[in-house]
């Protein structure tokens, strides 16, 4: 009984304490810190923390320190809405970022729009987030339908790369269907036969039956889309075990770009392409310095999530520096929004400037980074490392094509 009384009072105390205007500039970030997406929340937490530490060590923003408030939404939409409300009304953050998955980001975007708080999307990729005309929502990273741009460029320009046929296997989530549709639309426009079009439920335990079916169609290219890392790993493992030998394995989605691919698949990951996981131009010395520093601090090499999280803080800091802050929260939030509209800078992620333009599937974007189409890259797994191979300007090494296994 005491627990109940105490918790009610604890809650009341928390709810009713409205902190006086805090000195630091507060950034809110709903992220999955527990639940199935917890590893991603952790990546962003590290990246945000590192950027904020650097900015504060260099004197903060116009003399004020930055502070990040991360709230756990457990990858649940209703909870994402709850913590967003809390960040805006209780924690009095100036600007929001984060979200991780598109479903939760939709709730955050919808509430930010209503409560007039800028939301700068760092990772969620559903086209819809910036295609609803929300003037308070901005996005630095490319949308899902832009993800396959580098792949598209590769098959069109690399000699002999044009597929004779392609099998497309994608998960039936928002992410999987968007990318599956974009890829197939572009391939069909080039006259490539789609010999298999398979959607699977996320977190499938066994892909062998699907891969058996795909093997029967003898595809020239095998295109795999996975929002979940585990699906990405198992898709690749089972496709190889079943003995599918296309000229290229191409994975779309974050799962194909994480270190787990190499540690868990070992030699099976060799020569698999990962299209999408844009993580800055690795040939840029500033990006290299960031990679080295991050690796030194946390013992892991940063990838798309860390680069996105780290860059977003710099974009926010830049906007805060230019915004005229008065201490009136509503006015300050609008000032930050206006400052974001005038953003024109380069981070380790790449160039950023927000604008309104039409995407590849015909959606009209609002405040979407206009450089997004350049932020698509094809990388390839080589000896346990993911190296950028296309487009050539971002390439770290030459590419291996066709897959040597296909020639056996």
């Amino acid at each position: 009984m005491r627990t109940f009384v105490t918790s009610i009072f604890a809650l009341l105390a928390v709810l009713s304490s409205s902190p006086a205007l805090a000195q630091p500039l507060r950034i809110g970030a709903p992220q999955p810190m527990t639940g199935p997406d917890a590893p991603f929340g952790d990546k962003f937490k590290k990246a945000y923390g590192m950027a904020i530490e650097e900015i504060n060590a260099a004197g903060g923003v116009n003399g004020r320190k930055l502070e990040i408030v991360i709230e756990d939404h457990q990858a649940k939409n209703a909870l994402a809405a709850t913590v967003t409300e809390k960040l805006i009304t209780q924690e009095k953050v100036l600007v929001l970022t984060g979200g991780r998955a598109s479903g939760q980001a939709m709730e955050i975007a919808s509430i930010s729009q209503r409560l007039k708080t800028p939301y700068l999307v760092d990772h969620p990729s559903a086209d819809m987030i910036t295609a609803k005309g929300f003037e308070w929502v901005f996005r630095n990273n490319p949308t899902g339908s832009i993800y396959p741009a580098a792949f598209n460029d590769f098959i069109s320009t690399y000699p002999g790369a044009m597929p004779k046929s392609a099998a497309v296997v994608y998960d039936n989530t928002l992410f999987g269907k968007t990318i599956g549709a974009a890829v197939m639309k572009q391939l069909k426009a080039k006259g490539v036969a789609i010999v298999a079009d398979e959607a699977y439920p996320v977190n499938t335990l066994d892909f062998k039956p699907i891969m058996t079916k795909v093997k029967g169609t003898n595809p020239d290219y095998l295109l795999l889309v996975a929002v979940s890392t585990t699906d990405a790993i198992l898709l690749t493992r089972h496709a190889k075990e079943i003995g599918i030998r296309p000229r290229a394995f191409v994975g779309f989605g974050g799962g194909f770009g994480v270190a787990d691919m190499a540690t868990q698949l070992g030699p099976l990951a060799q020569n698999v392409f990962s299209s999408a996981a844009w993580s800055g131009n690795p040939n840029d010395p500033k990006v290299k310095a960031f990679y080295a520093k991050f690796h030194k601090q946390f013992g892991i090499w940063p990838h798309e999530h860390e680069v996105e999280g780290y860059s977003i803080i710099y974009i926010i800091a830049d906007a805060l520096k230019r915004a005229k802050l008065t201490g009136n929260l509503d006015a300050d939030r609008d000032a930050v929004r206006k400052a974001l509209l005038a953003t024109d800078m380069t981070t380790v992620f790449g160039k950023v400037k927000f604008g309104n333009w039409a995407g590849p599937l015909g959606d009209m974007y609002t405040n979407q980074n206009i450089y997004s189409p350049e932020h698509s890259v094809m990388a390839q797994w080589k000896g346990g490392q993911l190296l950028n191979v296309w487009p050539k300007s971002n390439a770290e090494t030459g590419l291996t094509f066709p897959d040597p296994l296909a020639l056996k």
Binding site: D37, P39, L205, D206, P209, T212, G216, L234, Q264
Partner: protein, 287 residues
């Protein structure tokens, strides 16, 4: 034809592992009439056991069964003795919710200590699948299949040849009669719960090399597990085996010949259909 043979083989192999998970749940239900919602977490613990065995002590995952099965057996008995025993008289629903709480507790403790990272186990052997008759069979899955058969055989011997096994079967068939016959129901329940936990753990150890593992993997497994045990008839061990293999095969063939999107749906429709025509499952032992 090759496609059919391949999907049938994968179906039977994964089905046997599904069956392993189901047997533990069904044995416990048979004796205690409780559905243990934390069963999936016990499988998860077995998976992590195999993982840590390899990561820390370079223990072969399949050999680590010798270590984890007895430990899980003891753990299950303690769990029953210290926690569940006082809850069961409160009724079916209370026990169900209690185990739901337990499942949250175990999964989140695991998340806290081991983080949510996805892990898989790489065996030093069997990177290349074996290919009898052109059918690809992954080595870890094949080994797990054989071990699962052996464990099931041992369980059958235990249940049919030992006094304790007979007492468990008697309690499962008719609890009141078993009491009248002088069976120490309390002790039977404790051992059965230990047995169920050990079987879940064993299933986890066997699954680990073929699957990825993470602290909340139990959620994914428990729903399948329900389908299996109900297909076979709650409380029936042969039923769980048949249910597991049936589900494995139906999912596998369904994904190839019907639709991979509705793969899981096929399992559920089959489940409802069986329930309607045989409400107590294929091998049902009473209502």
């Amino acid at each position: 034809m090759e496609t059919f043979a391949q999907s049938l083989t994968s179906g039977v192999l994964t089905g046997a592992l599904y069956a392993m998970i189901g047997i533990g749940l069904t044995v416990v239900f048979g004796v205690m009439r409780i559905i243990n919602l934390a069963h999936g977490e016990m499988v998860m613990l077995g998976m992590f056991g195999a993982f840590w065995g390899q990561a820390l002590w370079k223990l072969d995952p399949f050999l680590s069964l010798v270590l984890w099965v007895p430990l899980m057996f003891l753990g299950g008995m303690l769990l029953y003795r210290l926690l569940l025993r006082k809850i069961i008289p409160g009724g079916e629903l209370n026990t169900l919710l209690y185990t739901a709480g337990l499942s949250l507790l175990i999964a989140n403790l695991a998340l806290f200590f081991w983080t949510g990272d996805y892990r898989t186990i790489n065996l030093s052997y069997g990177q290349e699948p074996v290919r009898p008759f052109g059918i690809s069979i992954a080595v870890p899955l094949a080994v797990a299949f054989v071990v699962a058969l052996a464990i099931t055989g041992a369980l059958w011997l235990f249940l049919s040849r030992t006094d304790m096994g007979r007492a468990i079967r008697a309690t499962s068939q008719n609890g009141e009669a078993a009491i009248l016959m002088g069976v120490d129901v309390e002790r039977v329940a404790m051992i059965t719960f230990g047995l169920g936990t050990a079987l879940a753990g064993a299933a986890g150890v066997l699954l680990a090399p073929s699957l990825y593992l993470y602290p909340t993997v139990g959620e994914l497994l428990i729903v399948k597990c329900f389908v299996i045990v109900v297909l076979g008839g709650l409380g029936s061990v042969p039923g769980a085996i048949a249910g597991g293999i049936l589900l494995g095969v139906v999912e596998s063939l369904g994904a190839v010949y019907v639709s991979s999107t509705y793969k899981d749906g096929i399992g559920f429709v089959l489940f409802l259909a069986v329930l309607l025509y045989r409400p107590s499952g294929l091998f049902g032992v009473g209502k």
